[in-house]
Symmetry: C3
């Protein structure tokens, strides 16, 4: 049983940037040379997160609309010093997920047919970091 | 330290089918012969997920009402080609959780008194798969 | 590769008590003597959970407002025998997260600059338990 640790960097370009990082993450699995085990992904941010989802723009548009409905940007927020987009991004990342755990089997990440690893920028264009841990053999 | 991998299958019968899979999952722990460690459960779907919750129909009814309020089915969704139930199921599974990690101690899954592992069908009757990984000794 | 298991206890004082347990959890990492690996935190409750967030009261106030909007306390809930605060706490803990997984590197939990481990009481003052598992070397 071994542990592999690394970091990947993601340059986001806008709010609600949904970036498919599956290949980037699979590349870390290859580098780890771990064939069976678990990969842990941790976003080191409170306003950017990760989801498992189909890489389909229409789903991402629906997610934005959902958040606009339950966390309207023209509302007054207490965490106001960086604006409503920032205030609501903090809450959205807790409603979604700042970390993912996915199985690895025969050197590949086990995902359903339509599942991809999507990094989600909830605030504004940034250089983001995801910490990677792979445990297995 | 060892790794055990398997899959369980769940036949869902309707939308908002809340199925207590605790015993099915405990059976995998027994088969793994791992006494102390972690069990990882990963739903291989974007419209079906898992929660830790009391197995109580009234809570599940309240959850349905919550989703009907924040994701009304008579709303227009961009991801429309399989209908509103499908479009909203994609978002609900990201708001809930497609994966669970639970501790194992002395051969048993550590759960609070009222906690059960509940598989949640968010779309329509389907044959669903949960990938199981158990790591420990 | 080793496994360390323990439990921490948290005394909550009110509904929406947001308690920074980062130091308490770091203390467990020190006790485990595991330098590189993963720490798993599992809340053994359905009405109390954990989030990764900035320890900032204004964010917690905004979270309360969000929940008051989507899960109003003056609404009628089916899970009614302990009142609306209890009924909605069950749903809030599924929308947030009853478990966290965080990497450990060089004996320290890897967190972003503004990330803290926050325990969230969603029901009423209670003695709460978080099960800790640390795996690594």
């Amino acid at each position: 049983m071994r542990i592999y640790q690394s970091e990947i960097r993601i340059k986001t370009k806008k709010s609600y940037d949904f970036i498919d990082i599956t290949e980037k993450v699979e590349n870390e699995v290859r580098k780890s040379k771990i064939d069976n085990g678990i990969i842990f992904l941790n976003s080191l941010h409170n306003t950017a997160c990760m989801i498992i989802q189909e890489n389909d723009e229409t789903i991402f548009e629906d997610m934005k609309k959902l958040f606009d409905r339950i966390l309207p940007l023209n509302e007054k927020y207490n965490h106001s010093y960086e604006g409503s987009l920032n205030a609501t991004a903090h809450l959205k990342s807790n409603l979604l997920s700042q970390s993912l755990t996915l199985p690895i089997k025969n050197g590949k990440i086990v995902l359903g047919t339509w599942q991809r690893i999507i990094f989600v920028e909830l605030f504004e264009p940034r250089e983001r970091e995801v910490f990677i841990t792979i445990m297995g053999e």
